[in-house]
Symmetry: C2
Subunit: 243 residues, 2 copies
């Protein structure tokens, strides 16, 4: 297969409460302009997927949890994602969940035509909880996130109001159910649509396999940053990587 | 860091009941002659690690188990490890455990000076259970494995007898405890000793990170097969990969 073939749809189901989702998010955002893919961000609720799948977080096995912290710091450092261990106990942060935050992201997604705003808002939320150890659910936190992501104060207010609506609550639940329909039991969940078939990948450690499945090439979590290249270079790079 | 520096000890703790351990085993055996490492095989008991860590297998979440089968087949195909879904239910195979098998591997390890025999016996066991869906615990199964791995009928008989001894039972338990001491909660568990510090990696999906930690380079699960190169080529290749 060559990457010069048809653009492939890649869906990323995630929740900002999940630090491994942050890794997958940043890596896929970087590869969006390297691989011949159309990346669609699918904000959903990890708690809902856990409940629907009868799964639990890794924190029910203390050693697994302890390893996870080391693993995340190592992966973050290697991938250039500023994951940090929060000063307050992680269980406290996790215990609060992410319902208001993910409703806000969903409102942003429904309001905007493309994924650019969703991307910025999601990144700001991850930075708050998984880099700065700050709250992500209070109205004031979400307002700050919205403004840091480049939304006007008025727009933020409007989106916060919408995020309480039935339409947004339903949309968030529908996306979560979609993840369950794909067999999801945790996040990140990436669905690559290849020749009419959805190929499902769980976790942030299957990019090499994903590339293989997409007919593309994996060159590590930090491919050449797309902003330094024009679209001609993109095409050249894609061709070189597929050869 | 350059790979021309001191040879680094890498320990692989595994149980042949674990299919992900097979992937890690084959990949590390291939890289043994590509990276500047001294690979030591550490046969241990997954059941013991689960018990000591308060962990459970992935089969307590049905969706996770279902995904695992797809994931294993995809990874096996990509890595060139002949993993297959057994005709009989996996739970039946797993339910029988691997105690006699891992005692036999331990007896082989204690009997031989190097890891060559342990490698061949382990591979034959994985092939039986995870490629052919056959029993790995009956005496007749172990005898067949031993002979396929190149041991004489007499040697196999002797090792099977030794595998029932207190010394071997203790050795298997000690290795399992060692894995727990390193924070283990499942297999494969790889411990890279870098500058006097043990760096612990769980799973068969951290090789790229492991390479980074060892000052080596990851070139996918199928590096050039070492048998086609002489030792001069090894040195050249290592130098090229470290540059």
């Amino acid at each position: 297969m060559s990457s010069s073939s048809k653009v492939k749809l890649v869906e990323l189901f995630y929740d900002v409460i999940s630090p491994y989702s942050w890794l997958a998010f940043e890596v896929l955002c970087r590869y969006r302009n390297v691989w011949n893919i159309n990346l669609k961000l699918r904000p959903a609720l990890l708690g809902g997927v856990y409940k629907g799948a009868g799964n639990k977080g890794p924190d029910d096995v203390p050693r697994k949890f302890h390893y996870m912290v080391t693993d995340l710091l190592r992966l973050g450092s290697y991938a250039g994602v500023p994951l940090r261990v929060p000063a307050q106990p992680i269980n406290v942060l996790l215990g609060k969940g992410s319902l208001p935050a993910m409703r806000f992201v969903t409102a942003v997604a429904e309001d905007s035509a493309g994924d650019a705003k969703v991307e910025r808002v999601s990144r700001e939320l991850w930075t708050r909880i998984w880099s700065n150890g700050q709250d992500i659910n209070q109205l004031s936190s979400l307002a700050e996130v919205g403004q840091k992501a480049g939304l006007s104060a008025r727009k933020v207010e409007e989106l916060l109001e919408q995020s309480q609506s039935k339409a947004i609550k339903d949309k968030l639940w529908n996306t979560t159910e979609k993840a369950l329909d794909y067999g999801g039991f945790g996040f990140p969940l990436t669905v690559c649509h290849v020749e009419g078939e959805p190929k499902v990948f769980f976790g942030s450690d299957r990019f090499e396999l994903m590339a293989h499945c997409l007919g593309e090439r994996w060159v590590g979590p930090k491919p050449v940053h797309p902003s330094v290249m024009d679209s001609q270079s993109h095409a050249t790079m894609r061709a070189a990587m597929a050869s």
